[in-house]
Amino acid sequence: MADHKSHDKIYWAVFFALCIFTGLSFAADELPVKEAGSESASGWSTPVIAVIVLAIAVAKATCVMLYFMHLKWERGWKYVLLAPTTILAIGFPIALMPDIGFHYYHQVPTETMIEASADHADHADHADHADHADHADHADGD
């Protein structure tokens, strides 16, 4: 094992930073969410919250990997190991998106879907997940 000078202070600092990040992501849950269909500027839109929260997650993961897992002080093999896994990790959801994620055809309404959309209209307390989705990838003809 390579002998290195003590990293104790760094570990404490990293732990402290991780706690702050965790607190931030928990606080993000309390952010007011922009209600669907409302034109008001109050509240945060859901994609923005998602980006913030995932950015915090990536920051935490980087802290753990670089410092706790000691990768900052390891040699070149870390790239050889992590490059294929990263490529697969990102490539896999991208590969699945066209098959499962996109909706190509106009939805044929079935009895159940008509019911569901009628239910949307008369359940006012459903409002929290009737977001308007700005699907750039939503290739629905209508």
Partner: protein, 317 residues
């Protein structure tokens, strides 16, 4: 046995990476584990993004409907991060020869892992209590009505002695069967709306002959009481008779957190051995490498949870 002259020093050129085999093996294993979890999490992301309703709006069930407890997830995150930190401390102490401190840190890691599993068990018991389980959640009105009628039929198949012990049991059972037949007929004639079903269930639950059995055997009654409670507490009832995409949610939730929990249990096993050694014969300098490798595994478990927590508990797409 004569020693021949070729038992001289190893050749001066040493091939291979300058890290111990065990550490390299652990990293290779972690590479496969990363791919395993990105498969699960990536699929979850794709499925969640694609869960839309007829108007193209996102329709994944909210945390309230599925009884997700965010503070429990946040607490679990903190517990795992703290245990990751402790593992690093343990490794440093053992590498320096401070074996007692290292053992103490390892014991605390073990306690943190058990605490994590306890909090997870609390969350799972909440899900089971609300029947948020894969395959058990009606997703449309029609499914909710059908399920309720089926459950009433199941209650009607109880033993006569479960209804009354004084010989009236079979009469009561037949009466309930008749009610069930009536409901089945209405269902076939497509005359049962969900409001009507709710009314019928409440009537049956008030009946003193079989009310208790109905109350415990029909999920709709339980949800009704939850909704009444929520109306009183928050004026905003969130329990629903049917949850679109509910089963998909439950499957994703239990698959991801279940596999993660299995990895935590395996971590418990991995840490058990140096703890046992530390408590009996005592740790040595040579154990530092094992602890480092165990620590790598444990950090990976922490990493997965760092991604699971926001994706399940916080994001609202």
């Amino acid at each position: 046995m004569s020693h021949s002259s070729h038992t001289d020093a190893a050749p001066p050129l040493k091939m291979g990476l300058k890290l111990p085999n065990s550490k390299l093996c652990m990293w290779l294993f972690l590479g496969t584990e990363i791919m395993f979890f990105t498969a699960l999490i990536g699929t979850y992301i794709v499925l969640r993004l694609s869960s839309i309703d007829v108007e193209g709006n996102r329709a994944w069930p909210t945390n309230e409907v599925t009884h997700i407890v965010t503070w429990a997830g946040a607490l679990n995150t903190f517990v795992l991060i703290f245990s990751s930190f402790l593992v690093v401390v343990a490794h440093e102490q053992v590498a320096r020869g401070q074996f007692r401190k290292g053992l103490l840190a390892l014991l605390l890691v073990f306690v943190c892992a058990v605490l994590f599993l306890g909090i997870k068990g609390y969350e799972y018991s909440g899900k089971i209590h609300h029947d948020i389980l894969p395959g058990r959640i009606p997703e449309t009105r029609q499914q909710a009505i059908q399920k309720t009628v089926n459950e009433i039929g199941t209650v009607a198949t109880l033993n006569a002695s479960d209804f009354a012990t004084d010989g009236r049991g079979s009469d009561i059972k037949n009466a309930l069967k008749a009610e069930h037949e009536k409901l089945e007929t209405l269902l076939r004639q497509e005359k049962l709306t969900i409001e009507e079903t709710e009314r019928q269930v409440l009537n049956l639950a008030e009946d003193e002959r079989f009310g208790e059995q109905i109350k415990s055997g029909v999920r709709m009654y339980f949800i009704y009481t939850e909704r009444e409670k929520e109306k009183k507490d928050t004026n905003h009832p969130h329990s629903q008779y049917y949850i679109p995409y509910g089963n998909l949610f439950a499957s994703c939730y239990f698959t991801m957190t279940g596999f993660h929990a299995i990895h935590v249990i395996v971590g418990l096993i991995i840490f058990f051995f140096p703890i046992k050694k530390g408590l009996t014969t005592g740790l040595e300098e040579a154990d530092a490498q094992y602890i480092e490798n165990a620590g790598l595994y444990w950090h990976f478990v922490d990493l997965v949870w760092i991604f699971l927590f926001p994706l399940i508990y916080i994001v609202q797409f």
